[in-house]
Structure formats: structure tokens, C-alpha cells
């Protein structure tokens, strides 16, 4: 693997200027791309903070049952004895926030908002990650092929990307979600709905990555190392997989990370409109949708899921930006 930036790895002795005898010459180690990027990232405190939050969120989502067992109550359990029957809101102050209920209770049914936000993280992150993976795979493949081969292949793929970008995604998703049957492809219930969301969101966000990868490929294929490999007799597949793709890892990584928050917002919007997972499974968008009518007398119900979405999206954006700064020298 060759990389344009790499300084060849063996230790090189820097010849001391004549006259500076006695000065020790230290071996200068070349640094790999990853090491350079990591050093730059380490210096960017904001990005690190974002990264830490992302890591924490992923942990919480993965270990949701444990977190909820330690810190909260089962997410679908009603606690109506703690709800004022005629006002329909939690009896305690600030929406019933207490040691038992860290974020308070939902009005009317008394469910633990903290547990529901934690479980909601699972849905949001799962859908967003998987959709991004789908987008990444399709986007990379199509972008590389379009950029490398050019000609009518490029035209075809680029126009397809334009069509997808122009598509009214929200309307399409609402329409599709209305007609999926209860079970298909061996899945049913909420797993089917999650799969549908992943496919639709992923399928419509791949052009975002596709266009960037295509641009990068176009510039890379004119580079000398590609000519060099070709003159050595390399076939197209070798150049694609062993020369170009490794150099594209950086942009793929960066723009995928930046695509995740967009997909989180998308999933939240779809849940808000009622086409996400079915009740009682919690999801951030769904909770916001229920919370709208209560905002005058129980604002905490809206604040916590809203904050969850905000913090998650912000963290991913900051981390993604930092990653881009670290990996792409041209933006500095």
C-alpha cells in the first residue's frame, strides 16, 4: 500500500551539517497516516469531547438493559399511582424528577422517561448506524466505479444520484410505512419496521457519500502512483482495490460519521410523524410527538428526549468535523 503522504518507513539518518560535529543525530521515525491523524485529533479538544460523548452513548445503548436495571424502571411499566388523576400529570415537582425517576414520569401513564430515553437511544443509533452502513456501501461502490471508469458509466451513475437526491424522501417513507404488511422477509413487528427504515434511509442517503467519493476518485486516478501501477501491468480491479480504495478510507470514514447525525434526525422525524416503531417501544421522535400536547403543563416530557437528540447530533457532528480536520490536510 502506498500513500501520497507517507514518508518511507525506514529510519533515515539526517546528515548533520558539517561543522556541527558531536551533535547526536536522532533517528526520525516516519509516521503512518493513522498516527498523524491521531496526533492532530488529540490536539482538537472539542472533537475529543464529541468523541467521548459518542462513545458513552454507544455504550449506554448497547448496555441499555443493565443501565435501566441499575438506574431506572422498566420502560413500558406504568406508574399511575404517582400521577395526579384529574390533572393527569406527575404528582412531584418538575415532572416527578427524583432519585427513582431521574428524568421524571410521563404524564397520564407514569412511565419512566429516563429508561425510555435510554431504550430510545437503541432505536435511534441502530437505525442511524445501519442506514449509514447501507449508504456507505452503496455510495462507495457507485462513487468509485463512476469516478474510475468515467464515460457513460459515470453519466449513468451521476444522473441516478441526482434523481435520488431530488426524491421527496419524507413523503415516500410515510407512504411506504403505511403499506408494509405485518410480516415480510421473515421479519415481523418492530424488527420489520426497523429494517424498512434502515433500507429507506440508507437507500436515499447514499448519493451524499457517492458524490464525494466520485470526486475523490476522479482526482486520485490522475495521480502518478496509479500510472505507475498501470505501467507495471496492474489490472483495473487491482488498482481499484489495492490502490484507490485504501486512499479513500479517510473520506469514507469522515463523511459517514457526518452522515450519522443526519440519519438520527431523519429517524426522529419519521417517528414523530408516526411511521417509526410501534408503541409501546420508545423512540425519541415518538416521545416528542406525544409530548407536544403536554408542553404547557409537563414540559419535562418534551425537554429530555429533545435534549437527547440535540446532544447526540451535536456530539457526532463535532467528532466528525474533528475527524475531517485530522484526516484531510487540505482543509487546514
Amino acid at each position: 500500500m502506498t500513500a501520497p503522504l507517507e514518508v518511507s518507513g525506514t529510519a533515515t539518518e539526517a546528515q548533520p551539517e558539517a561543522g556541527l560535529a558531536g551533535v547526536e543525530s536522532k533517528a526520525v521515525e516516519g509516521r503512518s497516516l493513522g498516527q498523524i491523524a491521531w496526533l492532530r485529533l488529540r490536539r482538537d479538544k472539542v472533537a475529543l469531547a464529541g468523541g467521548a460523548v459518542v462513545f458513552l452513548l454507544v455504550l449506554v445503548a448497547v448496555f441499555a438493559p443493565l443501565v435501566v436495571k441499575l438506574l431506572g424502571h422498566p420502560p413500558n411499566e406504568f406508574h399511575q399511582d404517582l400521577i395526579d388523576p384529574s390533572l393527569q400529570i406527575p404528582k412531584g415537582k418538575y415532572g416527578g424528577i427524583s432519585k427513582e425517576f431521574l428524568f421524571g414520569l410521563e404524564p397520564q401513564n407514569g412511565r419512566d422517561i429516563f429508561s425510555r430515553v435510554v431504550y430510545g437511544a437503541r432505536i435511534s443509533l441502530l437505525v442511524a448506524f445501519l442506514a449509514t452502513v447501507v449508504a456507505m456501501v452503496i455510495g462507495t461502490v457507485s462513487g468509485v466505479i463512476a469516478g474510475f471508469f468515467g464515460g457513460w458509466v459515470d453519466t449513468l451513475i451521476s444522473r441516478t444520484m441526482d434523481v435520488f437526491l431530488a426524491f421527496p424522501l419524507l413523503l415516500f417513507t410515510i407512504a411506504i410505512a403505511g403499506v408494509i404488511p405485518d410480516s415480510a422477509f421473515g421479519l415481523n413487528g418492530n424488527s420489520l419496521r426497523v429494517a424498512t427504515l434502515v433500507v429507506i434511509i440508507g437507500f436515499f442517503s447514499w448519493p451524499y457519500i457517492g458524490r464525494i467519493i466520485r470526486g475523490q476518485t476522479l482526482s486520485l486516478r490522475e495521480r502518478e502512483f496509479v500510472d505507475a501501477a498501470r505501467s507495471l501491468g496492474a489490472r483495473n480491479s487491482y488498482i481499484l482495490f489495492r490502490e484507490l480504495l485504501p486512499n479513500l478510507v479517510a473520506p469514507i470514514l469522515v463523511y459517514s460519521t457526518l452522515l450519522i447525525p443526519t440519519n438520527i434526525l431523519f429517524e426522529a422525524a419519521l417517528s414523530f410523524l408516526g411511521v417509526g416503531v410501534r408503541p409501546p417501544t420508545p423512540s425519541w421522535g415518538g416521545m416528542l410527538s406525544d409530548a407536544v400536547q403536554w408542553y404547557t403543563i409537563a414540559p419535562h416530557f418534551m425537554i429530555f428526549p429533545g435534549l437527547a437528540i440535540f446532544v447526540t447530533v451535536l456530539a457526532f457532528n463535532l467528532f466528525g468535523d474533528g475527524l475531517r480536520d485530522a484526516l484531510d490536510p487540505r482543509t487546514r
Binding site: N76, E77, F78, Q80, I83, D84, P85, S86, L87, Q88, I89, P107, Q108, N109, D182, G189, R278, P279, P280, V292, Q293, W294, T296, I297, A298
Partner: protein
Amino acid sequence: MTGVVALGASLALALAACGGSNTSGQSGSNGSSSPTYNAGVDKVFNPSSTKGGTLRMAHSGDWDSLDGADTYYGYSWDFFRLYGRTLTTFAPAPGESKLVPDLAESLGVPSDNSKTWTYKIRTGVKFEDGTPVTSKDVKYAVERTLDKDTFPNGPTYFNDFLDLQGYTSPYKDPTPDKLGLKAIETPDDQTIVFHLKQPYSGFDYLTQIPSTAPVPRAKDTGTKYKEHVVSTGPYKFESYQLGKKFVLVRNDQWDQATDPIRKPLPDRIEVSLNVNAEDIDNRLLAGDLDVAVEGTGVQPATQGRVLGDPNLKKNADSAETLRNWFTAINADVAPLNNVECRKAIEFGADHTGYQNAYGGPAGGDIATNLLPPLIPGAQKFDLYNMASKPTGDVDSAKKALQACGQPNGFSTNISYRAERPREKALAESLQQSLARIGIKLTLKPYPQGDYFKLYAGKPDFAKKNNLGIMVYGWAADWPDGYGFLAQITDSRAIHTAGNTNLGVKLPEVDKLLDQAVVETDTAKREAIWPQIDRKVMEAAYYLPGVWSKTLDYRPPTLTNVFVTNAYNMYDYIALGVKQ
């Protein structure tokens, strides 16, 4: 200098605002005009005879039908009297509901031991196009109502009571003027005579149903008639955008001299359809809307706001009703064909959770059986420990599941009306409470306008889609046991679609209903209702929820407001609006 002037001006303004102005209306002898909680219950609030203005109403879903032959929601029957005149109707007055003659000159005259009923139609009543109304138009209207294939919604009273002799529908009628039904005679243009299969002293209750409003045969377009119903009332349709909005304006052919009941006040009535339920509440509170036409009260979130704020509470009315919000358990869907499985649901449901979904105690008391306590003759009884174990009797439920062969529970679907947040909350509550005994429910929302025609009320659909539990509710068609029980427990009322009896098939109940119809002694008749109630509860076809109270919000823009006990919501033909 300018600063002092400004300060003085603002001080003056502030003082004027503090002084305040009371909402001044005309004070009537039996009504008040300063808002207080329940000012519209059993008395007229803000009585007025001032005409003018536009009454703005909104609906969270769609009407089932504006055609009198095909509608069965309480709000629709209340609203119908604005554009249709039936032979009799309930007088627009607070307090006990009274039947009065509307299109007819007087209440029905019985003969032949109450098997024959004669009405004389008022002279001078015209359709909106000027054509005079005759008894033949009333006969044609009732004939239409018999056709349950064309008009699936609506009660089957006329099918059950009239001596049909095989008549099915005016659309299959071989006679040239389509008036072939022998059970109704029209000896002259002003007289109409009904011949019943058996005596029934309460026939005037049947003639207040919208189906007796006259329909001009020349303008009858069958299922499309609802798109422009020809009016005989004080208002006629100006426009109707299906699914979005319709507008009523004054009917110039309506003659006040022929109508002692109505004093129509607004000039124009606008009804918006498919408006989000919580949005309706917000607009009522903001003054952008005058009436939430469904009359089922404010949503739970708004209830909290209204009851918690004295300034809002004084504009609220809490009405006792003849309604039970209950849930149907579908014996067509396995394993609920086994009565023990149905009993498991009766035992296992969380009844306080049910009550909370409808607004807690403000939404009504927990119902232990079907008949609302206000129905004369109703008796309370509790077969499933609902009063003693309001959060559910899990042990008995589990025993019942053992008895029906499903010790680990089973899965089924629960249907509810999508636009109604209370029904969604109830479905979630039942999902939770029944999960304790292993019954797994999947929520299935459907639009309320077609809930009975296409979904829960269509037995084939319900069975195919595994709708084991159907969220429901029922208010009496008129204030007696028959008006409550008949259309939800008589197995002979079940037809292919548009059902309101969601599965009760008990021959003993049918016999008891027939017995009650011919029973002339009031006390004996009233003793029959609790027997029917008990039999239905023993067979566990319905899970009772709450005997509902509705919390209605009365915006200060309304005049002449009161709750009518006939429909347990504001009386729409009396309402006026401030300009």
C-alpha cells in the same frame, strides 16, 4: 417631559386593564352570563336571541355520513337537526330530555294496541329548493334506511319493528314510484301511518332518528346523496369538500312559522374535518374555534390544563352521560371463542388504568357492568372483582386462562380509533396490564369515520385481521334501557358491515329484548334491563370501562349554551355565537 407623559399613559392603561370588563351578555331569568364551572349543565349559559355570526366547528376525523340514513354517532344526530327535520325530536332545553313533535304536528297517535302509529305532517314545510314536503318523502326516507347494503351504518330499528313483508330496499322496488313498502301508508300528503310487527309504546323514540327526515326521490343519488343532503331545516349546505370542510348557510325556504322548536342564531356554520384532536383543544382555548363537534370532551392533556387553572375551569362543563366507554371482546377470533379466555381479560385488565386513559375520575367512574347508572332501572353489579381489585385480579385471570387451555397467554390485536388520543392511551394501558397474564396485544389504529363500516364493525375484516379486542363506547340512543341495550346486544342486529353489536350472540338476550318491547308495565320493563346486562357480562362479550363524564370546554364566544341530556353534549340547534 415625554418620559413622564409616557409613564402616565402606561399607568392609565394599566389601571384600565386592571379595572377589567366583565363579559356582559343579556341576563336571562333561568341562565347566567358570568362564566362558572358547570354553568352549562342543567341551565342555559349566556342565553341570547341575537342572530348573526359564523359558528366554527371542528372534527378530529371524518363524519361517518351526513346522510340521515347512514349515520350513527351522537354528535351527528345532534347536528343533523340543523339541516333536517324528523317527525319528532328532542326539545332543545337543559334538564330532562323531552320528545316533541318537529315535522309532525304532534307526537304519534297509537292505535291497535300500539301496533299502528299515525302522524300528521305540518303544512308549509318545504325542501331547500321550494318543493313542499309530503308524507311520501318521509316514507321514501324510511325505506332507504332499510337498505343495510347501501347504507351499512345506522340502527336497525325500522328493520326490526316494521312489518316488512319481504321488502328490502327502494332501489330494488318494482313499483313505479318506489313506495312499495306496505308497512307505511300515506293516505294523503299530510298523513303517514306506520304498521309494526308487534306493539311498541316507545315508537316516538324511533321517529326522532335522522332516518325519518324527508328525502326527495328525484334528488336521491344513493350513496352519493351525503355529498349534498337536501335540507328541510334552518340551514342548507353551501359547500362540501370531502374529508376537509363543509359549510352551512341559512335555508331561505325554512319557515319559522312551521317550526316552534328552533330559533337559529348563527348565519353560517363552518365545520372543518380531520383536524388534529389536540389542535382542536388548543384552538378552543385560544378562541379560534367555537365547538369541538364530537362532543366527547377535551383530551387528557387539555383536561389537566383546564382543571388546573381556575380561569379556564370556569369555562368548563362536566356532563354526566348515558355513555359507557367499553371494549368489545371478539368471540370470532380464537382463542376468544372460549368464554374463559374472555373472562381472563375481564379479570386481568387494569381498571384504574382504563379510567386514567379517559381522564381519571374526572372522566367517569369505573364501570363494573354495562348500563349507565342514569338509565332508569339500571343496577350495579360486579362479576369480576373490578371494584375490589381495581388494578386487576391477576390470580383469577390466570385461573381463567388455565380453564380455557391457554395457561401461558396468547397474542391478538387490539383496534382503536386512530384520531382519538384517549383510545390510544387505553390500548396502551390494556397492552401493559394484559401482558401481566401473558396476553400480548398489537395496536391497530383505524380511522373513526369508517370504523364501523369497514373495520371493527365488519365481522369479516375483524376476523381476518385478528381483531380480538376492539376499543368501543356506546351512548344510549334515547334515555331508556332499550335505547342503550338493543343495538349492542341484539344478535339479530348483526349484518355484514356497519355493526354496532360487535359480537354478542345470546338467544336469551334476544328473547328478553322482545319481552321488554311488549311489556306495558314500566316497573316490569325496567326490571328486564339488568337481566340482559348480567347475561352479557356473564358471557364476557364486553369489558366495561367507565361510565363517562365529559369535560367540555365552552369558549366565551358561544351564546345560548347548554348540555342536552338527549345527546350528552352541547345542543347544536340552540347555539349562537358572539360577533
